[in-house]
């Protein structure tokens, strides 16, 4: 670690916490109590305070106050170890950057689980997973499915175990606002939804993305084609390729995979739920 940063950080840190999530121990420290007060909203689901002071990775959020006579506003610095990840005047932005890093950290370090970028809901005891990267519209579709009565599992990752069952990763939904505004964090309960509590088998895989005025024309993919599509959204596909192939084989053989562009999410909700 950079010794200057260590000295600077240690001198200025007021509070620090250690949390554990999916077996990873994470330390977060800050000199700004407001940041740490807001932190729980930005931690990965199922986090717990860690009793051990030993951590696998540490983050620091430093609020750099301006000189009293200066007209400049203060800014926030986010570090992972000694690596600067962000510098911004906006506390929301620094927390969102931390949140994004923490999700990815969990996805890449968790053992015995495979993380696929996907929205996930439960319906009649089985899961519909909607693989896709950011901006593919998966959160919007998940939100519409939950409003129609489906159980919320995730708008970020399908967390798959060795048997191909999907586990809940129920972070707050990141619902995008009008262009230019940052996504709004909505606990699923705020839209009348329920969180999934137990792992369930995958019943349907939906490869889709939003396109205005697109017609919903689903075609069924073969299991092998489906595996490639899901692999393309798998976080550690290159590093844990053997595990990924074995897990994905389970889900593509037990679930049907359909692919189509879609227009408005509400227009396809009933159709998707009717598959299960």
């Amino acid at each position: 670690m950079n010794s200057n940063l260590t000295a600077k950080t240690n001198r200025r840190v007021q509070t620090e916490i250690a949390v554990a999530c999916y077996g990873i121990r994470i330390g977060i420290q800050s000199n700004h109590s407001l940041i740490l007060d807001r932190l729980p909203d930005y931690l990965p689901p199922q986090w717990k305070f860690s009793p051990s002071p030993i951590v696998d990775i540490s983050y620091s959020i430093i609020f750099d106050e301006p000189e009293p006579a200066s007209a400049a506003s203060g800014h926030y610095l986010l570090y992972e170890g000694s690596t600067k990840l962000a510098q911004t005047v906006d506390p929301n932005e620094v927390l969102e950057t931390l949140e994004s890093n923490l999700h990815f950290l969990v996805a890449s370090k968790a053992r015995r689980k495979l993380f696929v970028h996907a929205g996930v809901i439960g319906w009649r005891g089985r899961a519909i997973i909607i693989p896709g990267y950011s901006l593919s519209g998966k959160t919007t579709l998940v939100e519409s499915l939950v409003r129609a009565g489906a159980t919320y599992y995730s708008d970020e990752y399908a967390v798959l175990d060795g048997q191909g069952r999907v586990h809940p990763y129920p972070k707050s939904l990141s619902i995008r606002q009008q262009s230019g505004k940052r996504p709004k964090k909505c606990p699923v309960e705020s839209i009348g939804g329920l969180r999934g509590r137990r792992p369930i088998p995958v019943g349907l895989i939906v490869m889709t993305k939003y396109q205005p005025k697109a017609r919903w024309q689903p075609r069924v993919l073969s299991p092998g084609q489906a595996l490639l599509e899901v692999l393309d959204n798998t976080v550690l596909a290159r590093i844990r390729s053997k595990f990924a192939l074995a897990v994905l084989q389970h889900i593509v053989l037990s679930a049907q995979t359909i692919k189509s562009k879609r227009a408005e999410a509400q227009d396809v909700v009933k159709v998707l739920l009717s598959y299960l």
């Binding site: 990267y133 993305k209 073969s222 299991p223 599509e229 959204n233 596909a237 290159r238 390729s241 692919k259």
Partner: protein
């Protein structure tokens, strides 16, 4: 020389009648359709093109001519799934799938398309970034 399947530095995952192959050198994943998987699995360096056609014919219960076998081999070769290059003797023209499958029955046609589909497997960094669509081929909508 008869075609021989590459077996070094790859992972093989059977998916029903198809086979997904992960190329650990190039970080490319391929899905072989049922006929392509069958041909690839029988490329042992001893089985001739004619024998491959006969074996596939028995598997599909449909006539298969050697042109189709050459098409499959062409695609396997282009994706580094054969140990050494094989060349169709006497005829340098590249055959199209349409030409190669013109003698197959309707049921068999459903099995042969597409023969090999590939993606470049994303790095963790790619997987973290805001990519709206997959990195590679099967993104066709």
């Amino acid at each position: 020389m008869e075609p021989k399947a590459r077996n070094d530095n790859i992972l093989i995952q059977k998916v029903g009648a198809e086979v997904v192959i992960y190329d650990r050198e190039r970080h490319v994943a391929h899905n072989l359709s049922q006929p392509a998987a069958f041909v690839w699995q029988h490329c042992d360096g001893q089985t001739t093109i004619g024998e491959l056609a006969t074996l596939l014919e028995e598997e599909l219960h449909h006539p298969v001519d050697e042109e189709f076998i050459w098409l499959v081999l062409d695609q396997l070769q282009n994706n580094w799934l054969l140990r050494e290059a094989v060349k169709q003797p006497g005829d340098e023209r590249r055959i199209s799938r349409r030409q190669a499958t013109k003698n197959l029955g309707q049921a068999a046609l459903m099995l042969v398309a597409p023969i090999v589909v590939s993606i470049v497997v994303p790095t963790p960094a790619m997987a973290q970034s805001s990519v709206a669509c997959g990195q590679s081929v099967p993104c066709g909508w």
